[in-house]
């Protein structure tokens, strides 16, 4: 047998260096998953991307759904039909999916279902740092939290077991440091071996949430949670680490690692209660730990989720234990070993030894649009024509970076799809012209109902659909406009221009953003028209086209500035601002290592000083 090169498919007993997200995918196929769905979002994306890579080989079904709500419905219905399923998303994705999510707790499932939410403390790639642990309380679904990739895999398998036992979906909650951490992971047996279509078992009382049914199902859910509490007490990932003392730490998830590092740094013996299943919390286990404790520190990221429960128990059972948590540990941002050490050291009276050296004047390096990025042309032209005169509602994707200097074309952003809804509202509320931006994948995700709304309610704005033919920001996943499915099969392309026309938009133009002249003419023309005007700027993501050129053995021909012709006006540097263009001896200079030869800067230059390297 040929050696399996894909680490995800290595046989049981072997060890692979897996990212937390890959480990979750492995856990799912070890649990025998049949159906997986997702909408990509950092830090969750690689779970589904991994399953997409191996799905066809294992005979499982995997799809990139148009948004998280649909993904939840796809996986949820499959689990109701009797097939093990998993849906994965980032924390804010669960907001989009919240409606079917809440209902799934009532209907329950007939085969195991795991809902992965990947939270992002510190907002590395998100619009907020909401704590999705609270969703477990809101919905009444059990929740499990791994601390590292090995646990991410093992707990995924356990989550499926619990879900099957309770006939209830189980939440697997990770954070960036679990999802994007790699570790040597010991592998188990792969159980996914294809599946057969089931026969749907009807049960209107359970599956149609009419008020009369829902009332009954709520009571059933509460009953299941009682059962879940017993499972939580016995959860194998919940344990005390370290030797007994009259002070102790309670922790879970990524914070457990920081607690362990902090304890080590104090050279003291401090036991840590690690809670692996965090809804329902294991009351008996926590009470056992609190017994003989004088002082307890709850170490957790974001909200005082565990802390409030511990305090409730202490009040209820009239225990004499001093509790610290959010009084010494920030309720915002990401924790780390040093922050936790400092908090611990203060409480137990150890020196806070940390000597922080920082330098103020290192120039900042925020993320930028890549060289050759087709979005740049649109922001350059819009800025050139309207400057600060218009208001620019924007959306979630690489093009959010258009809000930064020098383009400054981003004035309002809530969430996926909000550019169009807010433009609808603003057009009734403000005097200034409105130019909105939305990406292709984001348009499919949440743009369409808002676009219909804007036509119906007679809004006035220009909408750029920045169609770079992929879901770029999250790692180039396919979407309905690409004609490719999550299984890598060809499918019919759902064309944005057709949707836009179908929504009732009369003014629809498609342009190539590399053609600056046509882009500018089209934009000026749209400014003279009225109603909702949609310009689709369509050009493949530069990262993808460069990658393809390299694969096809084609040469990337960089551009060069003719020093004689360049007058140092700096238009290309200051307004177009491609990262490949720098300044050398007072003149523009193209860094050939970065230039991908898109040639747009040559159209920007008023003196014809930029041309292809011959």
């Amino acid at each position: 047998m040929a050696m399996e090169k894909d680490p995800l498919l290595k046989p049981a007993g072997e060890v692979a260096l897996l990212m937390g997200n890959e480990a979750i995918a492995r856990g799912a196929i070890e649990a025998g998953i049949c159906v997986a769905s997702t909408y990509p979002g950092t830090p969750s994306s690689e779970i589904a991307d991994t399953l997409s890579r191996i799905a066809a080989k294992l005979g499982i079904y995997m799809e990139y759904s148009t948004n998280e709500k649909v993904a939840m419905e796809v996986a949820g219905s499959a689990a109701i039909a009797g097939l093990k399923s998993m849906v994965s998303m980032k924390h804010v994705g669960l907001n989009v999916a919240a409606d079917p999510f809440m209902s799934l707790a009532y209907t329950g499932v007939r085969a195991g279902m795991v809902i992965v939410t990947a939270d992002d403390p510190e907002c590395f790639s998100s619009q907020n740092e909401q704590d999705n642990r609270i969703y477990s309380i809101l919905s009444g679904m059990p929740m499990i939290e791994p601390s590292n990739p090995q646990e991410a895999k093992d707990y995924t398998v356990l989550a499926f077991e619990i879900s099957e036992k309770l006939k209830l979906p189980v939440i697997l909650r990770t954070t960036t440091r679990i999802s994007h951490c790699r570790m040597n992971v010991k592998l188990g047996e792969i159980e996914s071996k294809g599946y057969e279509k089931q026969t749907f078992k009807k049960s209107m009382q359970e599956l149609v949430l009419l008020p009369a049914n829902a009332r009954v199902l709520h009571r059933r859910l509460l009953q299941k949670l009682k059962e879940a509490r017993k499972i939580s007490e016995a959860f194998p990932g919940t344990k005390v680490v370290g030797e007994e003392n009259d002070i102790g730490i309670i922790s879970s998830g990524a914070a457990f690692n920081y607690a362990m590092e902090a304890v080590k740094a104090t050279s003291e013996k401090i036991p840590v209660l690690k809670i692996g299943m965090t809804n329902p919390l294991p009351e008996e286990t926590i009470l056992d730990f609190l017994e003989n404790k004088r002082l307890v520190i709850v170490v957790e990221e974001l909200s005082p989720f565990l802390e409030n429960y511990v305090k409730k128990l202490i009040a209820e059972f009239k225990l004499d234990v001093e509790v610290h948590g959010k009084d010494v540990i920030p309720e915002y941002g990401e924790l780390n070993p040093s922050i936790v050490y400092e908090a611990l050291a203060k409480i137990i009276g150890k020196p806070v030894k940390i000597n922080l050296k920082t330098i103020e004047n290192v120039p900042r390096r925020p993320p930028v649009m890549c060289p050759g990025c087709p979005h740049r042309s649109v922001f350059y032209i819009v800025r050139k024509v309207l400057g600060d005169k218009a208001i620019y509602p924007t959306d979630i994707g690489c093009y959010t970076l258009g809000a930064l200097p020098p383009y400054m074309a981003g004035d309002l952003l809530f969430c996926m799809g909000s550019s169009i809804g807010t433009s609808s509202g603003l057009s009734k509320a403000i005097k200034e012209p409105i130019v909105a931006f939305i990406g292709d994948s984001t348009f499919y995700h949440a743009g369409i109902p808002a676009l219909i709304n804007s036509i119906y309610n007679k809004a006035e704005f220009i909408l750029f659909v920045l169609d770079n033919r992929t879901t770029a920001m999250t790692g180039h996943q396919p979407h309905p406009g690409t004609g490719i499915t999550g299984l890598g099969e060809r499918t019919s392309e759902v064309k944005i221009s057709n949707i836009v026309k179908g929504c009732g938009v009369k003014y629809v133009k498609t342009v190539d953003p590399y053609d600056l002249r046509t882009l500018e003419e089209t934009f000026r023309d749209a400014l003279n028209a009225s109603g909702v005007r949609v310009i689709i700027a369509r050009r493949e993501c530069a990262l993808l086209s460069v990658r393809r050129k390299i694969k096809e053995g084609k040469q990337i021909k960089p551009y060069r500035v003719d020093k004689e012709k360049c007058r140092g006006c700096m238009l290309c540097v200051k307004q177009f601002a491609c990262p490949a263009i720098t300044v050398k001896d007072g003149k523009a200079h193209i860094n050939e290592r970065l230039c991908v030869g898109c040639g747009v800067c040559a159209q920007v230059c008023p003196f014809n000083a930029i041309g292809e390297v011959k």
């Binding site: 790639s125 590292n148 040597n184 590092e261 070993p337 050296k357 900042r364």
Partner: protein, 198 residues
């Protein structure tokens, strides 16, 4: 055994691959290893930091001051992470400069090498400076192998607790077959490269 390694640079320089290669090598030698990466928006030409922690450690984040080795693929990126470094840190520094937009626009100044050394002095241990771009040119290596040149340079300091065979095997496991030869050549070029030690 407890070893903390920090890799920094600019998105697109191959930091994630370098991190994975070192992580794989540590795994091949039987150590427990954690690597830490940040994906998504942070990758688009912005500052990128990743970590490899080997042995008796919990999680991917290095406690402040506990870095044993720091590899900076871009000249000034290391200056953002001084809180993780201390006099026990060996720094392997590339002379490759990638100017952020603020510098190109003339709104900020790119620190000179002298200024940088001034900042590093007393705050870190030995500093090895490598002109990695020059090495690429001299050896006719593609730009994308700069990360592996830096790995060779880091290995040649003798401060990385991993064997060259494991690193080579790890390169083999993590790069496509058709780029293997050029990456192994880059690794050797990094080992042989001239380093200025401070």
């Amino acid at each position: 055994m407890r070893y903390n390694l920090l890799v920094c640079g600019v998105g697109g320089q191959g930091i994630l691959l370098l991190t994975r290669v070192i992580g794989t090598a540590a795994m091949l030698e039987g150590y427990t290893v954690y690597t830490g990466e940040v994906h998504g928006m942070a990758q688009r030409g912005g500052s990128v930091i990743s970590t490899v922690r080997i042995g008796d450690v919990y999680g991917p984040i290095i406690p402040y001051g506990e870095t044993d080795m720091a590899i900076s693929l871009e000249r000034i990126e290391i200056l953002r992470h001084l809180k993780y470094l201390s006099q026990k840190t060996t720094v392997v520094l590339s002379l490759t400069e990638i100017h952020p937009l603020s510098v190109t626009l003339g709104e900020a100044e790119y620190p000179s090498l002298e200024q940088e050394i001034e900042h590093l002095k007393g705050n870190v241990g030995e500093v090895y400076i490598i002109d990695s771009y020059k090495i690429l040119k001299e050896n006719k290596l593609p730009t994308i192998t700069e990360n592996i040149v830096m790995l060779g340079a880091a290995f040649s300091t003798g401060k990385l607790p991993l064997k060259s065979e494991s690193l080579e095997k790890a390169i083999e496991e993590n790069v496509p077959q058709k780029y293997l030869e050029v990456n192994l050549k880059a690794f050797q070029a990094g080992i042989d490269a001239e380093k200025r030690k401070i």
